[in-house]
Symmetry: C2
Subunit: 381 residues, 2 copies
Amino acid sequence: MKFTIQKSQLNESIQHVSKAISSRTTIPILTGIKLEANAAGLTLTASDTDISIQAFVPSELDGQTIISVERTGSVVVPAKFFVDIVRKLPSNEVHMEVVDNFKIGIQSGSTEIQLAGLDPEEYPLLPRLAENQTLSMPSEVLRSMIRQVSFAVSANEATPVLTGVLWSLERGTLKFVATDRHRLASIERPIDCPPDLKFHNIVISGKNLNELNKILPEQNTLIDIVVADNQVLFRTGNVLFFSRILDGTYPDTSKIIPQTYKTEAVFAAKPLADAIDRAYLLSREEKTNIVRLTTADDEKSVEISSSSSELGRVTEQLPVERLTGEPLKISFNSKYILDVLKVTDDESMWIGFTGAMSPMILRPANEQGVLHLILPYRTTN
Amino acid sequence: MKFTIQKSQLNESIQHVSKAISSRTTIPILTGIKLEANAAGLTLTASDTDISIQAFVPSELDGQTIISVERTGSVVVPAKFFVDIVRKLPSNEVHMEVVDNFKIGIQSGSTEIQLAGLDPEEYPLLPRLAENQTLSMPSEVLRSMIRQVSFAVSANEATPVLTGVLWSLERGTLKFVATDRHRLASIERPIDCPPDLKFHNIVISGKNLNELNKILPEQNTLIDIVVADNQVLFRTGNVLFFSRILDGTYPDTSKIIPQTYKTEAVFAAKPLADAIDRAYLLSREEKTNIVRLTTADDEKSVEISSSSSELGRVTEQLPVERLTGEPLKISFNSKYILDVLKVTDDESMWIGFTGAMSPMILRPANEQGVLHLILPYRTTN
């Protein structure tokens, strides 16, 4: 293998694949990045067995030579050092060459580096996915769907399936659900796909989706998604992102969503977030995060409050845009509501209550298809 | 105590004093901030016994009322919650009142807070320093002097005096020295002060000086410095910063500074830093940080190199602006040189060598009064 490459392009691809490198892997070959050079360009691969990322640097881009390959071949380079050093090479022109025994020579400006590489034959092959279940969606829709639900996955590895986001597709609607048993987030969006394409019980680690979100382009790009038996592939431009599908059956959450409400309120989202945040500050000191909401008799405001046995009490009158139904006193983990408000771009938030001991539902008032459920904190007073 | 205050001004003073609050203090009263309101304004005090900071909010500023005091008095507020909540209060007008038993009421917009305060009589008094040893210097000179040396203090608490910066003043020259026994940094600057004012063996914790640097104004402001028996006071505008003086006698470092050199070189600072940084990246993997410098026979360049038994080798030819004296091979901890180059604004760096096993001296080529000493790494090859 011998080639000359533009540092900026090499660096961009390294940044993409480096998100799949785990420093804690027990498989030595996976501490490396696999490089494969051929006439078409350079392919970089990294994997931590849970996610695998492949990035391709084409030999030409917009008529400009990005990489000129003198001798095809492949090698595995030590990832940590390679990621750091390429960024700091002195010239934008980088020469790489593999000599005997996977020894790698890198030259840029007056810097010369000799590196011990590893045998590329030892590097695990990426799965080949049958492309019969493929859909395409705009990057920004996928990004926003992930953002709306991924914070609600469980952090508890004891039930692995709950650390993932449930994907289902039916009649052209893609739906994501995440829950940690205390709260649930879901979003559905219409997708342009063949009407008979459907899947269910596809569960993808929330952590992996957050990593995916970091490399998804922000602007309007179509992302191809290939769903296979135990892997999902996301394809964007010259980057492939493979994620394992989590084993296990995701619980049926449809029955816990209430259909009728005893009390309904609409709040301006920002003042609601600010008021809960102030009450949260005090309850945080108690390590409970419990905040209480009490409706006022005039149906024009609610009281947001919290108290700490040591420190004191925060009380606040918060105007509502609309308030109907039964009077209510409810206590909840304020972090859960703040998490929802953090990902909400809508200016108004509708909240439906089914009683002090029953789930509350939050929906952005002007946006279809988004639903957040939060279980109240059961207090005795 | 009862007053109304502008949130922005209160917040600014809280940010200043909060740097003296330790979350790990074993003295309950020191988890708080002491507030004292009188006709002149509001004084805030925080202390972790090592440093104490006092900030004053005047009742009027530029003809504008900042605080109107209805009832003078004082109280100690729980610092952590107070710092966070004031920043997030909904209105710029904040009412505070102390009622029975040090209970504090805070009101801003529709937010009402009741807080359990503490008895201000329990709060330790700040030292009163005799002002016979006072000097004034421009803020930016003090900031830059601290920055030039504080990184070189020892992190080892076993020799407390070396965790500090040695201050001495004689014949109108203020000098700072810091050393951790492997390297030394020193800077001296002429100061406008009475010619007979002098002190020596004043040692101030490097950590404290870094905290001070965070509140020193960047622009041209005079800082008053009062040196007393066991405390130093820095006064800037409405903020007082007290630091304890470290016990112990600082070692005499004057004898280890070489007076003659066997090899001298002048480098462009940025390319030198970049080349050492690349070599450092590899040596970091070995956890030694050792980089070697070898002069070339043509006296026009040096070779910067490092090697790792597992990974390989980085080699680089670096042009010199000037190189005179004996040929040289020297190994050193590259972190030490990178630390020096990080605080150097000069475009050129002069380095004087006294042999492979003896100290090397770095001086910004166009700046007087700055000196860095680094002991080489003693290798056998």
